[in-house]
């Protein structure tokens, strides 16, 4: 069976062949992708649930379409994602709030960036993850990069047509479908005999709190003049 899997957890190596070049196409409506094969949604959901319940450090990566409450369906979807996270034992949520490149680098415990998603996955030793609410082009980019460089089992809960590069890809996923997936997770958890009291994942171990209200230009020391040159002031020497 293992030989038949077209898309499987990596590392597949630097710049792997895209799934679409391997003959994988997005699933038709009502179907899903499992290891690159078109299957019923139920089968794909069960395999995804099993991965999230049995592999190390399961994590949900919500994207901007979930994190920002720009309309009622986004807010509802966000709620459903939190409900799902509660049912997965020791699940973490690491957000992808936007796609801009970050210099010098991101804090891999606090966020994931589509330009180098492998950093977050390798740092946190994540072996199963769910992408939800990430715009398709950046999901494609990230999923392929993850397959190339990590052994992470990727699950794409896509609101559009699905993603070939994920091990499990569901399409047309909205709040109700996420809740359906949550029910499958609960069912599978019982089947596997895993005991778990639903609870919220831990908070973002974020950057240190900065007290912006008290920052003064003088805190910039000798460079303060660059921020606030005074009228008539001519700085000739700064050191």
């Amino acid at each position: 069976m293992a030989e038949e899997k077209v898309i499987k957890p990596g590392p597949a190596g630097y710049i792997p062949q895209p799934a679409s070049f391997l003959g994988v196409d997005t699933p038709p409506p009502g179907k899903a992708l499992l290891y690159g094969e078109v299957v019923d949604e139920e089968i794909a959901m069960r395999e995804a649930a099993k991965a999230m319940l049995t592999r190390r450090n399961p994590t949900i990566f919500p994207g901007p379409l979930v994190l920002w409450g720009y309309n009622t369906s986004a807010i509802e979807k966000a709620k459903a994602v939190l409900e799902l996270a509660m049912e997965i034992p020791n699940c973490r949520i690491i957000p992808m709030p936007d796609y801009r490149p970050k210099y010098p680098k991101i804090n891999p415990e606090a966020e994931i960036n589509p330009n180098h998603p492998n950093l977050t996955i390798l740092h946190n030793k994540i072996e199963a993850c769910i992408f939800v609410g990430v715009h398709c082009h950046y999901a494609n980019l990230s999923l392929r990069m993850i397959r190339a460089g990590t052994n992470c089992f990727t699950i794409a809960l896509c609101a559009e047509m699905g993603h070939e590069d994920a091990m499990v890809s569901l399409r047309d996923v909205h709040a109700d479908d996420i809740r359906r997936f949550r029910d499958v997770v609960v069912e599978m958890r019982k089947e596997l005999g895993i005991e778990w009291e639903p609870k919220m994942p831990p908070e973002n171990p974020s950057l240190p709190k900065e007290e912006w209200t008290n920052v003064s230009p003088l805190d910039f020391g000798e460079y303060a003049y660059l921020l606030l040159p005074r009228k008539g002031e001519i700085v000739e020497e700064s050191e």
Partner: protein, 286 residues
């Protein structure tokens, strides 16, 4: 785009990185900040990979603090130094192919006007002298001829700084650069006069030494573009690497140039002048 896009979905406040929580709570979205309060609010751009002492980085920092509506703004850039910082800001950024920024901006502005007829969506192009006056010259000029309603800001470092120091059309005559050892043979292009002739309704030339003035010019250029037509700012942002300006002297250099060929210059059409006078009267009353 819009204020609704900078509200964290309920329940996710505790999962967002601190940077984003600060951006929403103490950022510029939905309010007008004073550029003199820099450091007292969460800025739209903070980290960037530009060289130490880069004056362009300073200008870009002031630029973002001056935006009248950052939540309704799209910035366009192209190859060159500026995009290194522009792409890291918390404002949507589009990277055009070298030279086509003003063509992309034209289409974008038109599309936004159709999509949001009752709202102002600001489009701002920030590109270097190479992107706007050399390789992108045709597209820049034609966007002005067509009277496209967006702002073009040229961050002029007078050299191709990214690629090793080739002369650009904006390099001063006679200047010797790494890749122009004989010295430049021709005069610097007079971009400001070109902009006036080509149909811009607001034109400014500035050496960014005074943050308050930079903010005023940027704000005016964006507001005038909303209602009247193309606007243009020519800003001197020295390349301290290619011109070998010691870091501690970049400001002195900017002041020096301000006294010579980068004297502050502002020009606008009568209707734009009238509009600002009206607006400023209202602001004084308020």
């Amino acid at each position: 785009m819009g204020l609704e896009y900078v509200k964290i979905a309920p329940g996710f406040e505790r999962y967002m990185p601190r940077d984003y929580v600060d951006l929403v709570k103490m950022g510029q979205f939905g309010r007008q900040v004073d550029v003199m309060d820099l450091g007292q609010f969460k800025e739209l751009v903070e980290d960037h990979p530009m060289c130490a002492g880069c004056y362009m980085a300073y200008f870009i920092r002031i630029f973002y603090a001056s935006l009248p509506n950052p939540e309704d703004t799209i910035v366009l850039g192209t190859a060159g130094c500026a995009r290194l910082a522009l792409s890291q800001a918390a404002v949507p950024f589009i990277y055009g192919n070298y030279g086509d920024t003003n063509a992309v901006a034209s289409g974008l502005k038109r599309a936004l006007t159709i999509r949001f007829p009752d709202k102002h969506k600001d489009v701002v192009v920030i590109a270097g002298d190479g992107g706007l006056m050399d390789i992108g010259f045709g597209m820049t000029m034609h966007s002005w001829f067509r009277r496209e309603k967006f702002t073009t800001i040229m961050v002029d470092n007078e050299v191709y700084g990214n690629t090793g120091g080739q002369e650009s059309g904006m390099s001063p005559k006679g200047v010797q650069l790494k890749m122009a050892p004989k010295g430049k043979q021709f005069d610097k292009i007079n971009a400001v006069e070109l902009a006036q002739t080509a149909g811009c309704v607001y034109v400014a030339r500035i050496s960014p030494t005074n943050p308050k003035r930079i903010a005023k010019v940027i704000r005016r250029a964006i507001l005038a573009a909303r209602h009247f037509g193309p606007t243009f700012i020519h800003a001197y942002t020295s390349c301290n690497i290619e011109y070998s300006i010691p870091t501690r002297e970049v400001l002195a250099d900017a002041r020096n140039r301000e006294k010579k060929d980068f004297k502050f210059y502002e020009w606008m059409t009568d209707e734009v002048k009238e509009y600002f006078e009206e607006m400023e009267k209202k602001e004084v009353k308020a």
